[in-house]
Symmetry: C2
Subunit: 161 residues, 2 copies
Amino acid sequence: MDAEQPRWLDERELDAWKVFSAVMLKLPAALDTQLHRDSGLNQFEYLVLAGLSESPDRTMRMSTLAILANGSLSRLSHVVKRLESRGYLRREPCADDGRYTNAVLTDAGWDKVVAAAPGHVETVRSQVIDALEPEQLDQLREIGLRILHAMDPGFGCTEGI
Amino acid sequence: MDAEQPRWLDERELDAWKVFSAVMLKLPAALDTQLHRDSGLNQFEYLVLAGLSESPDRTMRMSTLAILANGSLSRLSHVVKRLESRGYLRREPCADDGRYTNAVLTDAGWDKVVAAAPGHVETVRSQVIDALEPEQLDQLREIGLRILHAMDPGFGCTEGI
DNA sequence: CGGTCTGACTTGAAGCTTCAACTTCACGCT
DNA sequence: AGCGTGAAGTTGAAGCTTCAAGTCAGACCG
């Protein structure tokens, strides 16, 4: 578009990119497959339920939850509607400010996360964590932070919500 | 599922995983957004066209193309049908063996990739490559290879198709 | 007060992906 | 020839995501 003289990737860059890009495309699919097979959830739904389960009162505002689950508000709204119809959570308008909506994890939702978590963690461990040396974990974290920062320079300001 | 005593992630592991997981969920969306806005393609479609453009005779067998683009054959079939209807490629049965189908890039498809590539590369560069130190590129490659290998122990045998 | 603006959702339609059949073609066997 | 088998690819339906509007509540301003 605006690349007058595109700076193509050299061999080293291309090599790293190809590998990373394959991981990025395959790993989410692998995680989704395990979650779906064992719990009937996808990764986004799991993140939503897990996020709520770790929140005070098992309650979170929709927009906060959207950030936590790395998705758009629209996507969250659809997903929350599905999860609500399955009985895992319920929505209620925020008492203080009617513009906000809170999602609240039900007992059934809590049980669901508790049942799903071990298998999910085991998968993350076997596919990623245990495949790496401890120092590679730190490298990966540092690399990830840089990429997140490049994607969204304001990243970090809203981290600890 | 089969996790008798789940080995939860410690703080270091969790930290790395959270960051990496956020990248994995956000970066593909960012790349898709750029490609879609500037070229009307998504990442999978781009990989298909780019793969064909680099192949001898701009031709590739469907199943090979599916592996190259990191997707299922079914997904590829749907996508190729769309791309065919847009005139970017055409399908023809393999002359030697009627079980195979070859996808062939048309001139319009070639032009499309040539037009889309600079913007895409520029995005990859700005969001990933340029954000990292050279040695981080090598680290990322090594980490990625380990993860790919953990996901699919047979990985590497089919690489150079 | 009443108008307008903004931010927080919600919704419906369109598009994409997945899943589970189903079809087709070549190969090996009798 | 005739038959089973398996791999390659296709298809339709169901489910999920995105996009572009739309709704609604509080803030700001006169």
